[in-house]
Symmetry: D2
């Protein structure tokens, strides 16, 4: 593992989500882990837990950047947890830490992460997202989302 | 002045903006100040400076929550400046501090503030905004934006 | 009021304190306000409230940078409140915003503010402080603390 | 690896340090890793790098919570890096994430981490520290520091 070369993918989405949405997030996490990427989330339930589950069960390393004051909130698929005690403000940290973001469905907290990712000039791909935002890419399924991220991160790293 | 009763309006938008956009922001700031509201911004140029100018010249109090490490970045219309040294992360503080937000045009940083405002359940009104986000209200001009905010804040305070 | 020229003094100390300690903090706030300084605190009770009371009753402007998610925590002497929702992390913002800090007694949160102030190279003066930290100045009473700050800030501004 | 059960030890100290100090930090990191603990630092040089080196070379996992805007600042011994873009404010996150802290020598930034650790009620042990702070424990050497932390964390977990 080499922090400088690893790709960190943030999978962002709501803390409670339908089983359909969670299946998408789990597939995103799995595909990312199979490419050797670190999967980063907000560490809680819903999309965050599904993405971490997919990644961990595929042998990947998972990082959770939590809103609360200690690590106990982390879902059981998080390997390394960070307790920010900054609540929604931790969304900026997620965007700074990631090389790219994939948003799955998502609510307003997710939108803040998407906005920060775009602000920082990082590839941001949405699956089943409810907003129209210039610059936000979309994909039809997890594999396409991962493929787009892979291509964009590679071109950014030159 | 009574912190508990004053209305804090965040005017959010890009740090560099056209004169047309700045005129809108200045009018928003002026209308807010005429109602006795505190006008809160990110403290820099563009929309932030125009809103503070409009508010200050109309006799209002202006608060700037800055991204950098000291207060020297504040535009000349800020009465009270806060230096966060948190960069984009300070956008969450703006949303927490405000009772309502008005976004004028805006880029991705603005979108993060809009997202946080909506996440926190606060009235968020956009003028000339480029995104489609469910729950984000729009207005045709500054007076309408201020009127909508006034009505929504009043109903929330019951 | 001119943000660039005003002196912002942070008065830092415990959220619950004895009446003796609160009298000291109130006197510090009063002396600062009489010099035209803005008095900045963490916005809660104890030393923070006493300092804001002293400043406000002497005609000064008070700023409270709060730990919680909204402005309702602010003590009644705060003119302008900022809600960070970052809890202890807001102590770094207090140190960045201030030109100088005066610590009155204080517990561990206060010590973090003292440490940040010293790290940033700002004058930090303690009254009745329980720690020994190289570089932390001490004073015997509020007037001496204010006089030391005035001298040091003036020499830094050259 | 189980986030809920792993012990996270923060090793805090200056970003540039003498070889003597770095040897202490490296020994602390090594001893922590040999017990299976995750070693957490601010991710930069000096004490932070030495502690991570000691931990990584002993087979441990290292986490770096960086002050800057991307992960490129991380020293080469960091496995998982977090980019906060909050500068000194990230010290609060280090204290929240850790179960215990060991300070090695250290300057004012270190003192802020010590203060936050004590504020949060966590065991904080100092090696060669220049301050006197009630509640801050001291040890004569890395093994004693690690042993004290082990005992205190165990008693806190009951």
């Amino acid at each position: 593992m080499d922090t400088g070369k690893n790709i960190y993918l943030a999978v962002v989405g709501a803390g409670s989500a339908s089983s359909e949405i969670c299946e998408l997030a789990e597939a995103v996490g799995k595909e990312a882990a199979l490419r050797g990427w670190i999967v980063l989330t907000g560490g809680l339930g819903g999309v965050m837990e599904a993405a971490a589950k997919g990644a961990r069960e595929a042998g990947g390393l998972t990082l959770g950047i939590l809103p609360g004051q200690d690590r106990s909130q982390a879902n059981p698929y998080i390997h390394v947890a960070v307790a920010t005690n900054m609540h929604h403000g931790r969304n900026a940290i997620i965007a700074h830490t990631a090389d790219a973001l994939i948003a799955v469905d998502g609510e307003y907290g997710t939108l803040s992460e998407v906005a920060f990712g775009l602000k920082l000039g990082k590839p941001v791909v949405g699956l089943m997202i409810p907003w129209k935002v210039p610059g936000l890419l979309t994909a039809r399924d997890p594999k396409e989302a991962i493929a787009r991220v892979a291509e964009l991160v590679a071109s950014r790293r030159g």
